[in-house]
Amino acid sequence: MKLIGRTLLVAQLLFLIGPLLLLALTALSAGETLEFPPDGLSLRWMARVFEIESFRASFMTSLLVAVASTVFSLLLGLPAAYAFSRYTVPFGEAIRLFLSSPIIVPGIVVGLALLDFVVVPFALDPIGALLVAHTALLIPYSVRVVGASLAGLRVDIEEAAVLLGSTRLGAFRSVVLPNIQNGVMAAAVLGFITSFNQVPVSLFLTGPGVSTLPIDMLAYVEATFDPSMAALSVMLAVLSLIIVFATERLLGLSKYV
């Protein structure tokens, strides 16, 4: 029985991680095309990634959009999460479901809808459009993740602070925020990664001259079939892994997600 269990576990891990390993190997290829097994080993494609001008620009766009939309989604999501956890909100369930809709509705639909009803009517430039879209996409994460850590916090510590002379806002700052900061950090990390890796919604909103990194990569792969794409993918995957691993170690991300 034990042997079967182990075998299944190994098979499962191979299924999950295998493709990434293959990709990592092709990224180290010395050859001219994306192929397996790689045609000799070298770091030339890793280096090549940094020479492609448009990747540098789209990386900066992605970074800006990810950081800004994470901040916006927390600014909007935190008060919502607080309201849900502390008060009986009229139509609370419906509002909660509505706030989750950006992750339930397929990205393609969200992207098209935003394009038709927000971006075009309000004449948003691509950066503005991406910020609006990603903020909306990340709100469900911040509401849920911050909500989970608020749920573990007693309401009466706020009352205790108020009775000792604190204002409501002061109590939030001095006794609520310090106790949910791990949840807020977890929501930020999750939001950043989600935004940074976003494809289907961004696809509709990027315009001439402005693209996010994943969209740029998609365009590149359609035109060119060299291992630089594998190299970039591996670098991004490793970056994500490091962020998630560090967050897990420091904050226990798995408690919230």
Binding site: D156, A160, A161, L163, L164, V175
Partner: protein
């Protein structure tokens, strides 16, 4: 408002939609007095306490403290302390910072802050625990921190919400004695919310018994225990055998008049189980159940007046189940009310 009143509750009413949690409450507390709000869960005692603290806004009525109408004063400006049932310590702050919280809000810093916090910790027996986090303390110790945090700011009034209910029996007795000592030393005016008669009787100068959002009786512990004025208070204080009387005869279990004469002007009489005389008397009965309680034995006796609970000293020997007995309900030991 009488001249001795420090806290005055006048016509206090709190309702949520159609349901009324507290209905037209009136009572007063003198300066330095220890008053308990006693009643079963849902009687409105906690709601009343939260309204006094300012955490709930009354639908009607007024609250005066030290002659000032505080009904509309926000809770952070009332100078009223509250010790929560769950302690409500700030989990991210050390014991020292928990206790210092209120003083820091008043702008106190440095040596004076340290001195007052140390003093407060010493007064609850927690010297040497200042650097710990709440989660590193036992329940009893957390309770002491909560107490120290409330008294260090010298509140005008200290409210305690079932503060001992999460402690084990031995600690409870210890903390009870300590609360009494603190109240005397600091001359604090305290309102103690509890559902536990023995706590209320042991600690209070006066007890306010509440039921269903109304006051049943206000009095000294002796008054409440010996002379309950309503059937509810009687039952709550252990007068478990309640008999109604009409036209000089006791009513049976179905409400019909029995042939047992009780020549009293009152309509309701109540007896503690220990006051019931077993083995002789005008009322016939059958032993239905017996429970050995150590010091005594408790019997359930089936009589024409319904089930009567009788308690006899264990030394008096045991009456076997099913035996026919006669019991007496002596009028001089009855609590009586209209």
């Amino acid at each position: 408002m009488s001249s001795s009143a420090y806290l005055t509750i006048r016509d206090l009413t709190l309702s949520y939609g159609a349901s009324v949690a507290v209905a037209g409450l009136n009572f007063e507390v003198a300066n330095g007095e220890f008053v308990s709000l006693l009643g079963p869960s849902g009687c409105g005692k906690t709601t009343t306490m939260r309204a006094i603290a300012g955490l709930l806004q009354p639908s009607a009525g007024r609250i005066f403290l030290g002659g000032e109408d505080i009904t509309r004063v926000p809770p952070n400006k009332r100078d009223i302390g509250l010790v929560f049932q769950s302690y409500a310590l700030f989990p991210h702050l050390s014991v020292f910072d928990n206790v210092a919280f209120g003083l820091k809000l008043k702008g106190m810093r440095g040596g004076e802050l340290t001195r007052l916090v140390d003093e407060a910790l010493a007064s609850v027996g927690l010297t040497g625990y200042a650097k710990r986090l709440p989660k590193e303390l036992s329940g009893g110790q957390q309770q002491r921190v909560a107490l120290a945090r409330s008294i260090v700011v010298r509140p005008r009034l200290l409210l305690l919400d079932e503060p001992l209910s999460n402690l084990d029996a031995r600690l409870r007795v210890e903390m009870r004695a300590e609360l009494g000592r603190l109240q005397r030393d600091l001359k604090l005016t305290m309102i103690y919310v509890t559902h536990d008669q023995s706590e209320a009787l042991a600690l209070s100068d006066r007890v306010v018994v509440m039921n269903k959002g109304r006051i049943e009786q206000v009095g000294s512990p002796g008054d409440i225990y010996e002379r309950p004025q309503t059937a509810f208070v009687a039952q709550f204080m252990g007068f478990e055998n309640i008999v109604t009387v009409q036209a000089g005869r006791a009513c049976g279990r179905d409400g019909a008049l029995s042939d047992i004469a009780m020549d009293v002007p009152f309509t309701t009489l109540a007896w503690r189980p220990a006051a019931v005389v077993l083995g002789g008397g005008p009322i016939p009965g059958t032993i239905r159940a017996a429970a050995y309680l150590g010091q005594s034995i408790e019997y359930l006796v089936d009589t024409p007046l319904g089930i009567i609970k009788a308690e006899t000293p264990a030394s008096a020997g045991r009456v076997s189940l099913g035996s026919e007995v006669r019991i007496d309900l002596p009028l001089e030991k009855a609590a009586s009310f209209a």
